[in-house]
């Protein structure tokens, strides 16, 4: 009896920390779910600034966006003067552009979606993509790393379907705030296409959200694009007419 007690005690001493550790370790899916909870929302209205660092000069653009769920968004560019009044409407997988200079509504489809968005390091495809990582990727937890002085989970994401912009991603997720502080977006061949970094964050209620992000298209020789959220309002009322082609000429 004494022997059995001893064995049980020794087993408990060795296995208990492992049990506690595995209980604390979230699954990769759980991490994605918590990122999605931060990033996605029923709807939101943002004013953002995009600083595009080209090889020759930098450009700053300001835009107001209305976003509803993952399927509908509407963006109006406010500055600079040449871009003012340019609008974009996304309805599910369709995208339309409007430029006041030409007074035309142009449908963007096919390979044009891979083109740069307003000359930035983002593409129209980036804008069209479902922001919910859990919807489009399977994830594996690779381990932990310290990044930007933050303790991060490192995850490898593999696309669930072939029709998305990046076949795989490697992401570094802040363990406390559940935001992907760094992402490497890769093609099927393994070629690094784009990197993103969240360099500043802010908190609204329970939710952590990126304040400043840097996108870098690794296929171009530009110096990257900074994307800054100037203001954001979650779950505000957005009139339905905003998400119609008629509103582009409004």
């Amino acid at each position: 009896m004494e022997v059995i007690m001893k064995k049980t005690l020794i087993t408990a001493i060795f296995t208990l920390p492992m049990i506690i550790w595995t209980q604390e370790l979230p699954t990769a899916e759980e991490i994605l779910r918590r990122i999605d909870a931060n990033i996605t929302s029923e709807n939101r209205t943002t004013i953002s600034t995009m600083i595009i660092h080209g090889r020759r000069a930098s450009r700053t653009m300001t835009a107001k966006s209305w976003i509803q769920g993952i399927d509908r968004s509407y963006t109006e560019y406010l500055e600079p003067a040449r871009e003012k009044g340019t609008k974009m409407l996304k309805l599910e997988d369709q995208l339309w552009l409007y430029a006041p200079q030409s007074d035309r509504i142009i449908h963007i489809a096919g390979h044009m979606l891979r083109q740069s968005l307003m000359g930035s390091d983002l593409s129209y495809e980036d804008m069209m993509e479902d922001p919910s990582l859990l919807n489009i990727y399977d994830a594996d937890l690779l381990g932990s790393e310290i990044l930007m002085d933050r303790d991060c989970w490192v995850l490898s994401l593999q696309a669930k379907t072939d029709d998305i912009a990046y076949f795989s991603r490697k992401i570094w997720v802040d363990k406390e705030r559940y935001l992907p502080l760094k992402e490497e977006r890769l093609a099927k061949s393994g070629k690094l296409l784009k990197t993103t970094e969240i360099t500043e964050v802010f908190q609204i209620g329970e939710r952590w959200y990126p304040k400043r992000m840097v996108f870098k298209d690794n296929l171009s020789k530009g110096k990257g694009t900074e994307f800054i959220i100037d203001s954001i309002e979650f779950n505000s009322d957005i009139p339905d007419y905003i998400f119609s082609k008629a509103s582009l000429r409004r």
Partner: protein
């Protein structure tokens, strides 16, 4: 002596018929191939110069690095001053500014929304100024299939194939969606006034021709252009001169490490034709060498066979006292006569077939659908002065060499054995 030999050749057709046929065929192929290759390469160089590189081209260093991507964000700025400087420094070269651009051409419906759209490769060229040479350089007037040349700002020509695909009617509006020089989105309305077909697959798939000033406005490129092209006045590419000019121009900026400093390059360096041009310049020598070698072997064999057939004749001639050297030389003279006759026939046939190909051309458009080089859809031969004489080199060399090799046997005949051989 010559008359005697020619009489012999005419009377004994077995002696001349086969060698003449061999020589004529070899010369025919040589002449035809020289004209064909010359035509194809001349056209490739000409089309590349006209549509892509000029004889020399000036770009920024950064643009030159990625020129296949047409990076207008790295274009030349201060183009008017640079054009003036180039005209001053190289007055015997015609300088033109061009803007190449890629984008989407969108055709609206009645509500101004997309009815049809397709990708375009745009070319902004000087269409309106008095000194404009681009209409003739690009053969735009001849390329018009429907409509007319642009007369006013905002008017464009598009490829006929694209117009049919998009079902665009002349006079309809078309919006270009592209990127401005500073990377922002560029949307600009044009009017389609004509359709063109250049006979170059790359251009005919989706070309759009606009005036360079319109392109500058549309792409926010004021006093800027992607490229400045230089053409020699005689319109003939001279690689030595182009290379020398480029070196001289680039030396001015050698101490300037700005990636937007201008740089000049010659056609051979800028196009993918460098290796082809080297190959083309050596082609005549290669083909002559091949045919001299092949025909010499064939004619050597023919000579050996002829030697067997004329074994008795040679024996008698030696027996009656003709010197071996004299006999050998007479066979060489015979071969020269055969070479000349064969070469004349072969050159005639070669010139005839080359002229046919020069006039009719060989349509290869079916194979050009995915080709991204400035290669014409119709290959044509080009008859030059060289075409008239090139065939005589293998024609004469091979017959003389073949006979010289087969005739060596004469020196092996023993005079003492001749009568014994003749008796048998």
């Amino acid at each position: 002596m010559i008359r005697f030999l020619i009489k012999g050749l005419l009377h004994d057709r077995h002696r001349s018929f086969f060698p003449i046929i061999i020589v004529a065929i070899g010369v025919w192929i040589t002449v035809f191939m020289q004209a064909y290759i010359n035509g194809v390469f001349t056209d490739m160089v000409d089309y590349t110069a006209r549509y892509t590189t000029g004889h020399v081209k000036v770009m920024t260093r950064a643009y030159a690095e990625n020129s296949d991507q047409i990076p207008n964000d790295l274009a030349l700025i201060g183009v008017e001053q640079l054009m003036d400087d180039l005209q001053h420094d190289y007055p015997d070269v015609t300088w033109v500014k061009r803007i190449q651009f890629g984008g989407l051409l969108d055709i609206p419906d009645g509500k101004g929304e997309t009815r049809a759209q397709g990708p375009v490769i745009g070319l902004g060229v000087d269409l309106f100024t008095k000194e404009a040479t681009e209409i003739s350089t690009l053969n735009i007037e001849k390329a018009i299939v429907r409509g007319r040349l642009p007369h006013s700002p905002g008017e464009i020509l598009i490829s006929d194939e694209l117009a049919l695909k998009l079902e665009v009617k002349l006079g309809e509006s078309a919006t270009l969606l592209s990127s401005s020089m500073y990377g922002s989105m560029a949307m600009y309305n044009f009017t389609v006034v004509g359709t063109v077909r250049f006979g170059v697959a790359m251009m005919d798939r989706g070309a759009m021709i606009a005036d360079v000033t319109d392109a500058q406005i549309a792409l926010n490129m004021f006093d800027a252009a992607g490229e400045i092209l230089g053409y020699f006045v005689n319109r003939v590419y001279d690689d030595g001169r182009a290379s020398m000019m480029s070196e001289e121009f680039n030396a001015q900026y050698i101490m300037n490490d700005d990636e937007f400093a201008p740089t000049m390059g010659p056609l051979k360096e800028l196009s993918s034709l460098g290796e082809y041009l080297d190959y083309a310049s050596n082609f005549s020598g290669i083909i002559v060498g091949i045919f001299v070698f092949v025909m010499s072997i064939v004619l050597w064999n023919a000579g050996l066979l002829g030697g067997l057939r004329r074994y008795g004749e040679v024996g008698i001639r030696l027996a009656i006292g003709e010197h071996k050297g004299h006999l050998y030389r007479s066979l060489i003279y015979e071969s020269i006569a055969i070479g000349i006759i064969g070469s004349i026939i072969g050159t005639g046939l070669g010139l005839g077939s080359a002229y046919w190909l020069q006039t009719k051309g060989l349509d290869i458009s079916a194979f050009m659908k995915n080709v991204n080089m400035m290669i014409p859809n119709i290959f044509r031969a080009s008859i030059t002065t060289e075409t008239y004489y090139i065939g005589f080199i293998p024609g004469l060399l091979s017959t003389v060499l073949g006979t010289a090799l087969s005739g060596i046997g004469i020196y092996k005949r023993q005079t003492a054995q001749l009568f014994k051989e003749l008796e048998t």
